[in-house]
């Protein structure tokens, strides 16, 4: 075990890639393509989905029914990824996503998780004191909004469909998408027009 921990990371990675190829589990080009796909994923993909949902009711319905299918319809690769559930914020309910057990995150549509999403502090506090966490992010919800914390514990990945800010009437999808951040799709913030 000590020897393994002391091995240089790149040598270990090369060894694992060779073993995967030798055993017929994954070829070098397949691994390369998967790494490229992972690196390309970013919150901009999720933001495109949100902007489309705000402007196209049929897409919104599809997104709430099957997030992965909706993502794929916009050309976002979801093959081999866990199912994507979409949580819609409403006038009365605000959703907040956390993975208390580790760092489950909808990487296909949001990319790599922010560092704080994986922190013990966020994971512990999001379930126990979500209102306090939102206040620290400067997020102000209308009175009487209930907070629903979604603890991502198993085979689904979850993203939030935020509410469209009222001041954005007539905006095109590109302009709308620019308002939507990873934080808003996790639920610690809401989109605001600056």
């Amino acid at each position: 075990m000590t020897a393994l921990l002391e091995t240089k990371g790149d040598r270990l990675l090369a060894a694992i890639r060779h073993l995967l190829a030798e055993k017929g589990i994954a070829t070098h080009p397949e691994i390369k393509a998967a790494i490229e796909r992972t690196d390309r994923a970013s919150p901009a993909q999720g933001a495109r989905m949100v902007a489309r949902a705000w402007t196209d009711p049929a897409f919104r319905a599809l997104m709430l029914e099957d997030g992965a299918k909706a993502a794929e319809s916009l050309g976002i690769p979801m093959r081999g990824l866990p199912p994507l559930g979409v949580l819609e914020n409403t006038e009365t309910t605000h959703n907040l996503v956390v993975c208390t057990l580790c760092s489950c995150y909808p990487r296909g549509v949001l990319g790599y998780p922010p560092f704080w999403f994986k922190s013990v502090a966020y994971r512990a506090r999001a379930v126990r004191d979500p209102a306090g966490v939102l206040a620290e992010w400067g997020t102000i919800l209308p009175a009487n909004t209930a907070i629903r914390v979604v603890d991502s514990t198993a085979d689904y990945r979850w993203m939030v469909l935020p509410r469209r800010p009222a001041e954005t009437e007539g905006w095109n999808e590109e302009r709308l998408a620019a308002l939507v951040t990873a934080e808003a799709m996790i639920g610690v913030t809401v989109p605001v027009v600056s």
Binding site: V127, I147, R148, V149, D151, T153, A154, D155
Partner: protein
Amino acid sequence: MLTPGTTVRVRDDWPETRGPCHIRTPHYLRGRTGTVLRHLGDFRNPEDLAFARPAATLPLYHVAFTPQAIWPDAGAGEIVVELFEPWLEPL
């Protein structure tokens, strides 16, 4: 199969005290009572997959809990969690 609206108790079981394991049921829910929202699908048991053992396919549910029933100082709202059927006891 558990139907939406069923009241369930999460098993008050602590396999981590008996040896190595991989559990997707958070500590704070063991022994707590919640309500089944819906069946999310069927997935292979991560408790076996993690150890490369043959893994059965199990129903996975979204279950809602009241935070104030878990922590006296909690605010209003709800906590919704994915839980596998063997962890749920219908009441």
